[in-house]
Symmetry: C2
Subunit: 208 residues, 2 copies
Amino acid sequence: MTSTLPSPPDARSALLGAATRLIRERGYAATSVNDLCREAGVSKGAFFHHFASKDELAVEAAKNWSAVTGALFREADYHLHERAADRVFAYLDLREDLLAGAVSEFTCLAGTLVQEAHGEDAIRAACAESILGHAATLESDIAQALADAGVPHSVTAQSLARHTQAVLQGAFILAKAEGDAAPVREGIGHLRQYLTTLFTPSAERSAP
Amino acid sequence: MTSTLPSPPDARSALLGAATRLIRERGYAATSVNDLCREAGVSKGAFFHHFASKDELAVEAAKNWSAVTGALFREADYHLHERAADRVFAYLDLREDLLAGAVSEFTCLAGTLVQEAHGEDAIRAACAESILGHAATLESDIAQALADAGVPHSVTAQSLARHTQAVLQGAFILAKAEGDAAPVREGIGHLRQYLTTLFTPSAERSAP
DNA sequence: CAACATACCGACCGGTCGGTCTGTACGCTA
DNA sequence: TAGCGTACAGACCGACCGGTCGGTATGTTG
């Protein structure tokens, strides 16, 4: 008795995986239904059996992306640190550790998809949920770290959490432009520096 | 005697303008040559008279984008401030002022294009030049502001200049996801706060 | 066993794609 | 006026697009 979940039919998840790979590589519009079927090793009949349209697949792929990355971050070690600020910095360390392989292997499906397809409301909404939902998982640690610093800050935890995602998304674009992960490492570095000043109690700063 | 440059044929610039509008609205792959011709009010013959291929138009559109935005920022007022830090903050003010109209009217053509077409090397290079070239125009002011603060900083002016562009590009993605400019304003706000701490002499911070 | 559902398969459809090609209108030079 | 180069115009091409549809193999249920 294996421990697989009450798995959905195989063709469906093969198509979701193919969509994730191909859209991250070449974008949504440039990926045809035939491409997806070939990559997934299924027929066109199977495609339209599981998804009503190409757009519906995009929405499901974005939801699947949320689920997969959600699980990855939920189960990661960075939550184990005692101090909230340490949890946030450990999250950034993890993001940096994830930068392996080709550019299309570490960039964000939701960011890529929404840039192209924000005109389609269902796709836009699924991508927004993916990006902002992930940002929301950082909010409580950031709020706690801000509170620990004990100073009234003009920035909110929500805004700061979203900012971390904006920096990552923007760094991914520079990475695509340069063909290299270096800009993402730099972006994370600036984020670390910014958060360090925000998380440092002002007492410590005025009396070093 | 008007002061127009030895202007290129009209169909060419109409196509460049159409490409800028349509690609920012719907992306590159989703914009067809026929769409471009219709929007520009020219025939398909005219299109392939001026551009060898759709990809070549994309490259030329990216170069044209560099030229247009380059002129806009070169001639802007923010250069007039005496203190380097003020010039940098005034640049951010200008970026915020530019956030008018629909999302596709303030987002970056080069960022949109490279996200989709980074697989095509000529397009990738033209977009990289546009984004990184613009970042480079900020470098000397940032370097000066850093020097004025008089502290050895661990960040370089180049890295910081590129970071400003990464933040903007990432904020554009959140803006597309939300359908609103608000995330860009927030991103610029965080940038202002980060730069403020970097540009503040440590003497001032340790003795407030 | 019949009756029905699910999960495909792949030929096929009308339409659109990027790109080609022939033709032509116009300006310049000689 | 002839001859030539540039700037189009738009019919046309084969490949490919997203999507449909009739069919089949394999359960499951009564």
